[in-house]
């Protein structure tokens, strides 16, 4: 997701404050709760982004949904966002918070693309191998794409390590088409 500058700044500020008050883990839990809520309810995201609905209305809705579930710090944070009229970037802020938290905790996330579903043992093996290679804790997301035909590709940040059959076939095609034989 493209995260705007404003969202990144709000997220960094929240993390700094949580570190100061030593409530990083519980803050993360609350943020993940908000993130899941937003991801599950497209209506809520659209509601927050809608320019027609008045800001006061958005504030009261956010209050009602989250108040009972979250800590005082995150509650104050949401109120601040509402007051600053930034409800429309709430989804970006929570995404940015997860990003900055991961940097803080030394966790990297990796996407693994495979052609067939992996069982738990295989996932554990992949995770372990990736952790070995990167020297960091790795959050693995598995994505199944049948057109890869076989093999596996791992995407960490912007870098892809591609060992899929599909990519190898493409390379082979390239070799045949672009080399001349005398």
């Amino acid at each position: 997701m493209l995260v705007s500058k404003a969202a990144r700044r709000y997220a960094t500020a929240l993390l700094e404050l949580a570190k100061e008050q030593d409530v990083v883990e519980s803050t993360l839990k609350d943020i993940l709760f908000i993130k899941n809520t937003l991801e599950d309810s497209r209506d809520l995201v659209l509601f927050l982004k809608s320019p027609i609905i008045k800001p006061d209305k958005k504030v009261s809705v956010l209050e009602e949904i989250f108040k009972s579930e979250i800590s005082a710090l995150v509650h104050r944070f949401i109120t601040l966002i509402a007051r600053k009229n930034r409800q429309n970037v709430l989804d970006q802020i929570v995404a940015a918070f997860v990003e900055v938290y991961n940097v803080h905790a030394g966790i990297i996330s990796a996407e693994v693309f495979v052609a067939n579903k992996l069982d738990d043992k295989q996932i554990a093996e992949v995770t372990q191998k990736l952790e070995e290679v990167t020297g960091k804790k790795v959050n693995v997301t598995i994505k199944v794409q049948e057109n890869l035909k076989g093999g596996m590709a791992v995407k960490i940040a912007d870098t892809v390590i591609d060992g899929t059959v599909k990519h190898q076939l493409e390379q082979l095609e390239d070799v045949f088409l672009n080399t001349t034989t005398e």
Binding site: L2, V3, D162, L172, T179
Partner: protein, 536 residues
């Protein structure tokens, strides 16, 4: 019918496959956020370099070619990419792949005689570029001061008015400027054709013609003219016609410069024609505005001056010392072992003005960058003076040092005659009311102007030019009517060519017209004049 044997096929397949490794491939990617007007904004690609080529494999068409692009803007949260192909094949969410390759072109001897696009892909239907090629970057820093030498060798254009009055030297940058339909391209093409004579010498000039934003038919026509005159075999055409995207038109002159630099850095001589830079500036303006760079004067971006200055600065005469030249700055590793001194790259940029306005932004910029300019004038063109060169406002700042000796001697009086003629021209209508000396000056001026006229695609070797100007210098042409000059020129050159073949060759080699040969020429001229006047 011949057939390929199956075992041969499998041998080739085996050979191809033997170099193929199936290890995991590592590359960097990004995602297209938005696309439009030939520009894509990309999220990701965090390690990409400015000027790097990127690939969009998701945009493959049925022929298997995917869109490529070049990174121009690196911003905090996104990357601005210009697309070389059709942007309607690119969609939001498509993957963008780094190639780790700063925009480059494959350059080699095989490019001569070919028509290519600015990315080096042949578009003349004659198959792949043959022979060894080297990958050279499109953008390369010009050679530093210590690797350069003053311009001393002439580059003959074959045009009497240019070679005599506005001489061009190898390594010079001479602007060809004028309104539309004044013969700018013809001057450039004549110059290319005239380089045919250098191909048999030990210092041949290789030519590159860069067509930017021209009509496709014009490019095809130029190719035809060059082929007919046998000039295509030492010429490369880089074609970015009006139909291609703005990024292609923007990089085309840089591609031409990269090809020229290959010859320049390997100790040979090259001539590159950028036809024309005003259209390139327009393409760059288009890109810059779409990339939301701030517009300046005439809506051109702030760095449009640098765009042209860095391009033209690459034209240079390299020092004639292999050791010093070998240490030249910004030489790609692949080229380094081949580097030799003494090469040159001459640039003839073309600028089209609107209604003769040379004080517009782009023309003033390029005039100030180049070592002189050739002005082509609509009025002269319509009067039938072709090439329509305005010798009063045209200058060559460094070419004088490179001019052939005897030509230099003749050009002094020629310049004076023409200047005086221009001053008196306004009084010409008073005719016989003028005093004798004024009339004589007018008479001589008229004949000089007539002598400097030249048909298109008929370049003259420098020794013939000298032989002609010598006759004008001694005033013999005054005996002829203006209409007889063309006939005289033809007969005179023919006679001289037959009678003094070896002496003309000597003149061509040494560039010195000695007195005895001068007298011989005058003698022939006299007899030809008698013939021409008698026949009328």
């Amino acid at each position: 019918m011949s057939q390929v044997r199956p075992d041969e096929v499998s041998a080739i397949l085996r050979k191809q496959l033997s170099g193929f490794d199936n290890e995991a491939d590592t590359y960097d990617v990004g995602t297209v956020l938005e696309v439009g007007d030939g520009i894509a904004r990309v999220y990701g690609l965090s390690k990409v370099q400015a000027g790097e080529l990127v690939e969009l494999p998701d945009s493959k068409d049925e022929k298997g070619t995917s869109v490529t692009g070049m990174v121009l803007n690196l911003e905090e949260d996104n990357v601005g990419i210009v697309l070389f192909g059709a942007s309607d094949a690119v969609e939001e969410g498509h993957t963008v792949k780094r190639t780790n390759d700063i925009a480059s072109i494959n350059v080699g001897e095989g490019l001569l005689g070919r028509v290519i696009n600015p990315l080096g892909v042949p578009i003349d239907g004659k198959g792949a570029i043959s022979g060894e090629t080297i990958r050279l970057p499109l953008e390369r820093k010009a050679p530093g001061v210590i690797y350069r030498e003053p311009v001393t060798e002439p580059l003959q254009t074959g045009l009497k008015s240019i070679d005599s009055l506005i001489p061009i030297g190898r390594g010079q940058r001479e602007l060809i400027i004028g309104d539309r339909q004044t013969g700018k391209t013809s001057v450039a093409v004549d110059t290319i054709i005239n380089q045919k004579a250098t191909q048999d010498t030990d210092k041949p000039v290789h030519c590159i013609y860069v067509a930017v934003g021209q009509k496709g038919s014009t490019v095809a026509n130029i190719q035809k003219v060059l082929e007919e005159n046998g000039a295509m075999e030492y010429t490369t055409i880089v074609a970015a016609p009006a139909s291609v995207s703005a990024p292609m038109r923007y990089i085309a002159p840089f591609a031409g410069a990269a090809i020229g630099e290959y010859f320049r850095d390997t100790g040979r001589h090259a001539l590159v024609i950028y036809d024309d830079l005003s259209k390139q500036a327009v393409a760059y303006r288009e890109l810059s505005l779409l990339l939301k760079r701030p517009p300046g004067r005439e809506a051109y971006p702030g760095d449009v001056f640098y765009l042209h200055s860095r391009l033209l600065e690459r034209a240079a005469k390299i020092i004639n010392d292999d050791k010093v030249a070998g240490a030249m700055n910004n030489i790609p590793d692949e080229l380094r072992p081949k580097v030799k001194g003494g090469g040159s790259l001459t640039a003839l940029p073309v600028i089209e003005t609107q209604a003769g306005d040379v004080s517009a932004y782009i023309p003033t910029n390029v005039i100030s960058i180049t070592d002189g300019q050739i002005f082509l004038d609509t009025d002269l063109f319509n009067q039938g003076i072709r090439p329509a060169i305005d010798v009063g406002t045209s200058v060559s700042r460094v070419g004088g040092a490179a001019q052939v000796k005897s030509m230099k001697k003749l050009s002094g009086t020629l310049k004076l005659d023409l200047a005086q003629y221009r001053e008196l021209e306004a009084f010409a209508k008073f005719g016989s009311d003028l005093d004798a000396s004024t009339q004589a000056q007018l008479r001589k001026g008229e004949r000089t102007v007539e002598l400097l006229k030249q048909d298109v695609y008929q370049p003259l070797p420098v020794e013939q030019q000298i032989a002609l100007l010598k006759i004008n210098d001694v005033g013999l042409l005054d005996k002829l009517e203006v209409e007889q000059i063309e006939e005289f020129e033809k007969q005179y050159l023919e006679t001289v060519g037959i009678k003094y073949e070896d002496k003309m060759q000597k003149l061509a080699d040494s560039g010195i017209l000695n007195d005895s040969f001068g007298d011989n020429l005058i003698e022939i001229a006299k007899s030809v004049i008698d013939q021409v006047t008698a026949s009328n």
